[in-house]
């Protein structure tokens, strides 16, 4: 993987950089903006985003989506997955995006069930 064949465009070609160094700084600015948005939302906690959506607050969904966006740009541009072959990309990313959501899904559903059991008073934890 020589430095000559690095892809220098991000946001699906919306933003093209002249050099790899410039792209790195561009991605840093983008990541900083996303982190700043997260922190500001975390401090203000707007009332309009506190309603529940699919088992979680909308605000929490926003945090998780922004985190995945950040993870994408760190992996794609800092870890250079963007420049790797499709087969390597798939071997790295597919196991993670299949296994992690699966694990999260089964464990969180189970945890919610346990909460309901304790909440309904079948088992007392506060003795």
């Amino acid at each position: 993987m020589a430095h000559a064949d690095q892809k220098l465009a991000i946001f699906r070609g919306l933003l093209k950089f002249k050099s790899n160094v410039q792209k790195i700084w561009g991605v840093l600015i983008f990541l900083s903006i996303v982190t700043t948005i997260e922190v500001v939302l975390g401090i203000i906690k707007p009332e309009s985003l506190m309603s529940m959506f699919f088992g979680m607050k909308i605000l929490n969904w926003i945090f998780i989506i922004l985190t995945i966006v950040k993870a994408y740009y760190i992996a794609w541009d800092f870890m250079h997955i963007r420049d790797e072959k499709g087969s390597l990309k798939g071997s790295i990313v597919l196991p993670l995006i299949i296994l992690i959501p699966y694990l999260a899904f089964i464990l969180l559903v189970e945890a919610d069930y346990i909460f309901e059991v304790m909440n309904a008073g079948f088992i007392s934890w506060n003795f």
Partner: protein, 326 residues
């Protein structure tokens, strides 16, 4: 990339070895192997945290109330600013790392050295910040009582709604209770250091201060901790069996014990990754200085350690979200 000279004869024989079907060297593939498995390890931890949290969804501690410190700002309520700063430090050290990798591609030894140094400094600052965060967490701020069922009772001023520290109201009842150590009691029984106040002292102080009420672990619909009335508080305080100051693996003044356990375990495991990353970076840094990679003809080693370093940054992005934001 040093073995880019594949001839057509080898091209047809993909499984025979000698060429790189994924266009990445052995070392880089192994680093990716490690990263994918380590990512699954971390997701196991974070999902376990999510499990405990969803199981105790109506009583989990509120991170904004736990991590409120900022260096040199004593007594100022600054939720999250410090971790946000830590996140920026780590992202920035990631950037200097990728700049070092880029300089390595251009065989620019001076620049690689400089950026590696910046990366090491960033990593060290981050580990130091985490140690400071741990120190505050372990020390605690207000102190609380613990019931026999492990529930935490915190104290609030009924008029202002602000938390009140034990030292502000606990009565002074002289006792001669000593810490039970192996040397002065049963040799097989040990006890960690006693809290500064006994349950009796806290109870007496609570009864004497009319404006104090108890705040339990339960959360209302709006996400705030439920504060008991004065009468309910006076009844509830009789359930207390111990005084908790700060947090450790067994007791936690901020609320659910699992919160402290996962905090120590996940941020500790991540901090250990950062620490080992700094050590590896230092080794590579000295290799760069003595010219090992100059002689080797390529800086792929910087690229490999860079992958690890970015991964550590990536994990922090998730730890930050799930521990501090969500």
């Amino acid at each position: 990339m040093e073995v880019a000279t594949t001839n057509p004869n080898e091209e047809t024989n993909v499984w025979g070895g000698g060429n790189q079907p994924l266009n990445a060297s052995y070392g880089k593939l192994m680093m990716w192997f490690f990263i994918v498995s380590d990512a699954l390890t971390f997701s196991g931890f974070l999902v376990a945290y999510g499990f405990s949290r969803f199981k105790n969804i109506d009583s989990w501690p509120i991170a904004d109330e736990v991590f409120t410190h900022f260096p040199f700002l004593h007594g100022v309520d600054a939720p999250m600013y410090y971790v946000a700063l830590m996140t920026f430090i780590l992202i920035f050290s990631s950037v200097t790392m990728v700049l070092a990798v880029d300089a390595g591609h251009h065989m620019n030894k001076a620049k690689v050295t400089f950026y590696m140094l910046l990366t090491i400094i960033g990593g060290a600052v981050f580990v130091g910040s985490q140690a400071w965060e741990w120190k505050n967490f372990i020390k605690g701020e207000y102190g609380a009582l613990e019931t026999r069922g492990g529930q935490i009772l915190q104290f609030v001023d009924a008029n202002t709604g602000k938390r009140v520290a034990l030292e502000a109201f606990a009565a002074d009842i002289p006792t001669d209770r000593d810490t039970h150590q192996r040397s002065n009691g049963l040799w097989f029984v040990n006890e960690s250091s006693l809290p500064n106040y006994s349950v009796e002292e806290v109870k007496a102080g609570f009864a004497a201060n009319e404006n104090l009420v108890i705040r339990g672990e339960k959360i209302d619909e709006k996400g705030h901790k439920i504060v008991l009335s004065r009468e309910a508080s006076l009844a509830k305080i009789n359930d207390a069996v111990g005084v908790v100051e700060g947090a450790n693996l067994i007791h936690n003044e901020y609320g659910n014990r699992l919160f402290a356990d996962f905090f120590f375990f996940i941020t500790g495991f991540h901090g250990f990754h950062v620490f080992s990353g700094v050590v590896i970076n230092i080794i590579i840094f000295f290799n760069v200085i003595v010219g090992t990679y100059e002689r080797r003809g390529h800086y792929e080693m910087v690229e490999k350690v860079g992958l690890y370093w970015h991964f550590v940054d990536l994990v922090w992005v998730f730890v930050f979200t799930f521990f501090y934001l969500v």
